[in-house]
């Protein structure tokens, strides 16, 4: 599996993203030809796209500082989309974790969308590929929920649940509580993962929407490694739990 460096992988990933966005004008142009025919039906659900850099931040705590990103983007229509999601982190200038997901999404209920596709983890260690299937949507009380199951090389299984909520302090000052859980079916010593619930994190970010597209934020995150994963961390001389201050920017186009 491992055949090149994380940096090269990063380059592939950047190229894939760039390719998608270079293809956009062509897709949009094809769409526009239709719109020129001015049939009302054709205008109803035009091809659309979203880029949400939900988190692009520096975290600083007792265990040092790190940078983290979480980007999701889609191209598609009201009920059918192609998603690209990526997240990762860098510590002291080196990429510690990079994940890239390519998913097909189909809204199947009032508030829910089914996603299915693939995920690649480029760091740490050798590249690991997973098949992904999950749901995303809005639960009652407007709680945003995303749950994805992953089936990886060598029969590995993982589950990730993310949830957040938006609390309007004012119409521009928005408090976002967020929670994330990761669970693994089996132990993976190479990556320092134990079986079962591996880590839980909560975050509280307060952003100011200068405009809808641009929102700097500050916040606090608390993360805790659990079970076998915590044991691996302790063995490596690291604190399994950490609380950090964050500062970053959220961009949405």
């Amino acid at each position: 599996m491992r055949n090149d460096t994380g940096h090269a992988r990063g380059a592939h990933f950047s190229a894939a993203l760039a390719g998608l966005w270079l293809a956009w004008p062509l897709l949009a142009a094809a769409q526009h030809d239709h719109a020129d025919q001015i049939e009302h039906a054709m205008l109803e659900d035009p091809l659309n796209k979203l880029v949400l850099l939900d988190r692009f931040e520096t975290q600083r705590g007792a265990g040092g500082s790190l940078q983290r990103w979480d980007l999701e983007t889609w191209v598609g229509k009201s009920l059918t989309k192609i998603w690209i999601r990526t997240e990762g982190e860098r510590v002291s200038g080196a990429t510690e974790r990079t994940e890239l997901e390519l998913l097909w999404g189909k809204s199947f209920a009032r508030w829910w969308e089914l996603v299915a596709g693939a995920r690649s983890d480029f760091e740490p260690g050798s590249t690991q590929n997973w098949a992904a299937v999950g749901v995303r949507g809005t639960a009652p009380y407007r709680i945003d929920l995303e749950a994805t199951a992953y089936f990886g090389d060598g029969g590995r299984t993982a589950l990730r649940v993310k949830s957040h909520y938006e609390l309007l302090v004012t119409n521009k000052l928005i408090l976002q509580p967020l929670a994330e859980l990761n669970w693994y079916a089996g132990r993976d010593a190479a990556r320092g993962l134990g079986a079962g619930l591996a880590d839980a994190g909560i975050g509280l970010r307060l952003r100011y929407e200068v405009k809808r597209e641009v929102a700097p934020y500050v916040g606090l995150v608390a993360e805790r490694k659990l079970g076998g994963t915590a044991d691996f961390a302790r063995a490596a001389g690291r604190d399994p739990s950490d609380t950090r201050l964050v500062a970053g920017i959220r961009l949405r186009f």
């Binding site: 009302h40 209920a109 407007r142």
Partner: protein, 571 residues
């Protein structure tokens, strides 16, 4: 160009006026700024064309309503498009030349005409290609205040709308000394397609009036924590926002009166003692206006071009595409503000009635925003429709039957439980405001039901959508995937509309009248556009007396591509 007034006796008196501001500005000013309305304050008669032969050029021209230069869609270099003054009974020919780089069209809103003259691309004709001239020709079978607008892409948003006044053959049943057209609209500096895509990405993008933690605390102090939790919890469980009053707000819109921004202060002049007819038209793309003239009461004499029994009010809610003719008798001051605040209280259009240019009356403050309540959604189970049960008869007040196509439909986010017509409800934000507010229940056509027959059948249609995905449809099925509604020529049909969304939708049937009924199925008023607020079901009768293919849709521009049907009247 002539300005004219009509004397109390009904005879016409013309005075010669020039309209440099309105027409031919491109050449005169060097900068082709149609109407120049944003920049300069004061009186500006709307450019007027009259006669049976009219030529219109649809083109693009730079405008600036906010200080930023933008390209608008203009007609004969004017925004709004010229006022067309016609006479009932005449046959008019309008040659429309497309000077745009894309296809265009003009629809004559509310006019009864042959289907191939109705101006809807794909149904009436193929649209007007760039460089092409299309000749519309139709007899004028009615009188009153109407308007015209593009039916292509989002050209209505960028300025292609204008007023039509058809003078009656018989004298009007009311007298007036002077008249003004007051055409309200909304302008955005954004590209309408980009705006639409933005709404589909984030439906609350333009809503900066959502309930905050502060509102919650205030409510809890006032109503108690339990009551506040219960009320807000209900919204939250539904995943909806009580602040969803308008999709597009003053955050991007500049609201215009006859093409002028509030700062531009369009002014209509009157002479003391005169009775003035105001022809109010909501020519906006997405805005509902609550209109009043502080210090003056308004007597409504016609609605959607058709005479009604006069009713005197202080304020009225105008849904998109509706027209209201009102009489006012300015007295006691030299200037009065025509104040048209948008339903979501995010902005307003204004103009002035004054004895001369340059005067201003105080502009009222925007009313406080009133959020939707559960009763607005037809979810108040205590208010079940209580119609006298008449076995075997379908009554307009009967509870709705949700169509199967709404079920398990990702494009439908709610269904109303117990909608009622609520014709006498002034609507959210206007209830108990200390002013006399017009409701549909106040409207009575001056004539009896012109058809007289009971409807042979009832077509029940549900207005559906998904707020967050910004999808709109009838019965959960967008136009693209829908079969036409077939009517048999000559038949009388009841359209019963049930609003399964949380927004009001002004529904417009082309080519035929919509005769609004009360709860008991009695004829109330003849209209071309019927507003259906959330939580209501309303019904009207249609006589299928016009052969051909007709458009039937929500008149909110960013809803209409989905919430649209073809109505086919077959021989």
């Amino acid at each position: 160009m002539f300005d004219h007034t009509i004397t109390r006796s009904g005879s016409r008196r013309f005075s010669r006026r020039t309209f440099m501001e309105g027409l031919g500005v491109g050449a005169a000013a060097g900068l082709a700024t149609p109407q120049l309305n944003a920049a300069s304050a004061g009186s500006s008669e709307v450019a007027t064309l009259r006669g049976a032969e009219i030529a219109l050029r649809i083109g693009a021209a730079p405008v600036s309503f906010t200080g930023k230069p933008r390209i608008a869609t203009v007609v004969n270099d004017s925004l709004p498009a010229p006022l067309l003054r016609w006479r009932e009974g005449d046959t008019v020919t309008v040659r429309v030349t497309n000077e745009l780089a894309e296809p265009t069209s003009i629809h004559w809103h509310g006019l009864l005409l042959p289907a191939n003259m109705d101006g809807v691309p794909g149904l009436s004709f193929h649209g007007i290609a760039p460089g092409e001239t299309f000749a519309y020709r139709f007899p004028l079978r009615q009188s009153g205040t109407y308007w015209y607008h593009a039916h292509s892409a989002f050209q209505e948003q960028t300025g292609l709308y204008g007023a039509i006044v058809i003078e009656p053959r018989e004298p009007a049943p009311f007298a007036y000394d002077r008249e003004h057209v007051v055409l309200l609209s909304d302008w955005t500096d954004r590209d309408p397609m980009a705006l639409y895509l933005k709404l589909k990405r984030q439906a609350d993008y333009f809503n900066y009036q959502q309930r905050t933690m502060g509102d919650y605390v205030r409510d809890a102090r006032r109503d108690g924590l339990a009551a506040t939790r219960a009320a807000q919890g209900e919204w939250a469980r539904m995943r909806m926002r009580p602040s969803d009053l308008a999709d597009v707000s003053g955050a991007t819109y500049t609201y215009l009166t006859n093409g002028r921004s509030p700062a531009g202060n369009w002014t209509g002049v009157f002479v003391r003692g005169e009775r003035v007819l105001l022809r109010l038209i909501n020519g906006s793309s997405m805005s509902t206006f609550d209109v009043r003239i502080p210090g003056l009461e308004m007597t409504v004499v016609a609605v959607d071009g058709q005479y009604v029994h006069p009713v005197t009010v202080d304020e009225m809610r105008m849904a998109a595409a509706e027209t209201y003719d009102v009489l006012v008798t300015p007295a006691g001051a030299d200037a009065f503000t025509i104040f048209a605040q948008s339903l979501d209280r995010s902005g307003y259009a204004r103009g002035t009635l004054a004895v001369r240019d340059g005067l201003e009356a105080p502009t009222p403050k925007l009313d406080r925003i009133v959020y939707l309540g559960m009763a607005d959604m037809g979810h108040n189970m205590t208010g079940m429709p209580s119609m006298p049960a008449m076995p075997g008869m379908v009554m307009p007040g009967d509870p709705p039957t949700h169509p199967p196509s709404e079920r398990r439909n990702p494009g439908v986010d709610m269904q109303t439980a117990a909608p009622t017509p609520r014709l006498d409800d002034p609507g959210v934000g206007l209830r108990d405001n200390g002013r006399r507010v017009l409701t549909y229940a106040n409207l009575r056509s001056l004539f009896a039901d012109p058809d007289g027959r009971e409807p042979e059948r009832t077509l029940e249609l549900h207005l559906t959508g998904h707020m967050e995905r910004f999808m709109w449809s009838f019965d959960g099925v967008p136009y693209e995937k829908a079969e036409p509604i077939s009517l048999r020529y000559g038949e009388r049909v009841r359209f019963k509309l049930v609003n399964d969304t949380m927004m009001a939708h002004p529904i417009h049937l082309h080519g035929m009248w919509s005769d609004l009924e009360d709860e008991a199925g009695q004829f109330l008023v003849r209209k071309h556009t019927v507003n259906i607020p959330p939580g209501t079901q309303r019904s009207y009768r249609v006589t299928a007396d016009a052969l051909g293919r007709w458009a039937y849709h929500c008149h909110l521009l960013y809803h209409m591509n989905g919430m649209f049907r073809e109505v086919r009247v077959n021989a």
